[in-house]
């Protein structure tokens, strides 16, 4: 999880200390349409996973993202 937060912080151009597992990431000040692409790109690049939009929309917290990746990475 720490490594994931590290990568997520990089994608969102945020400090690691500002990201917690329970955070609803869409509520971050940095969240916008470009941030969506950054997170999708980050997940593809680091874990080789393409998240369909509908499934992405159902993920709410940082931990949801992490769990999705853990369950789907090859």
């Amino acid at each position: 999880m720490d490594k994931f937060i590290d990568i997520l912080a990089d994608a969102l151009e945020m400090e690691i200390t500002d990201i917690k597992a329970n955070d609803k990431f869409r509520e971050y000040e940095e969240w916008d349409s470009l941030a969506v692409l950054s997170v999708i790109a980050m997940i593809k690049q680091n874990y080789g996973i393409t998240i369909p939009r509908k499934e992405f929309d159902s993920l709410l917290t940082v931990e949801d993202l992490y769990n999705y990746i853990s369950a789907n990475k090859g």
Binding site: S33, L34, I40, K44
Partner: protein, 322 residues
Amino acid sequence: MGAKISRIEYYLPEHVLSNEDLIAQHPEWNSQKVEKKVGIRNRHIAGSEETALDMAVKAAQKLFNYVDPSLIDFVLFCTQSPDHLLPTSACIAQDRLGLRTNIGALDFNLGCSGYIYGLALAKSLIESGIAMNILLLTGETYSKYISDSDISNRSIFGDAATATLVTESDNYHIGDFVLGTDGKGAENLIVRNIGAKNSFRAVGDEYPELYMNGPEIFNFTIDTIPPLVEDVCKKNHLDKDQLDYVILHQANKYIIEFLISTIGLDPSKCHIDMLEYGNTVSNTIPIALKDSWDKGIIKVGDSVLLAGFGVGYSWGSTIIRV
């Protein structure tokens, strides 16, 4: 017998929509981020009475400063903003440009992959002996499908038109193509409320609205384009390292940089320049080709990979020898 691109000209409408203009209308908008990450500062927007066909005719007239129009024996026009649903805009272009009447003309409806398909069609017409000097036009005015409040799409798309002369050649300057289609993506980039499907309710009632599902388009691109580039290199018996230059559809800087790193291309050999144009749909590749040629970035003998991808979904790639 092969085919080659003999000359390209383009036309940009006069009105420029800058990031400053957009901020004035949307103070909450982060223009610095858009310029840095998306790579767009200005986009040209067609006048209210100016259409894709008007612009394509102007681009062709620029071409005819160098080319004898009586040589043209086929007109191909790529647009998703035709003047009318019928008649065919390419037929009107034939008349407005004063071209011969014993020639073929047709429109084809494609977006960001359109120029590649246009080259494929032109090459096929030439190699089958149907035509020898083809006027390949692209023209697009997505701005007419975007409302003032849609800041995301307004910040990305620009209007433009281009005219390319594709001619018969002794050598195979336009190489082999790899093309692809997946209509499952139709819903992700669509103007839904105009056309026969909706009984034209949009006219005078509702504004025709471009809908783009950015994340899904991004997913499609990052899944489809890396193998497309591999396949077209293989088909043309070239290694990626042998490419002198790569022009991907200039969708936005962020996507192109991601593709360059994923595919493992040399960034110094890849075109990224949409700062002054935005994403001009089927026009980005011919504009990039002309700019690269005029600036001396590409020169005679270079192998240049071209790849277009987007609405449809539709994608295609070829390698040209300049």
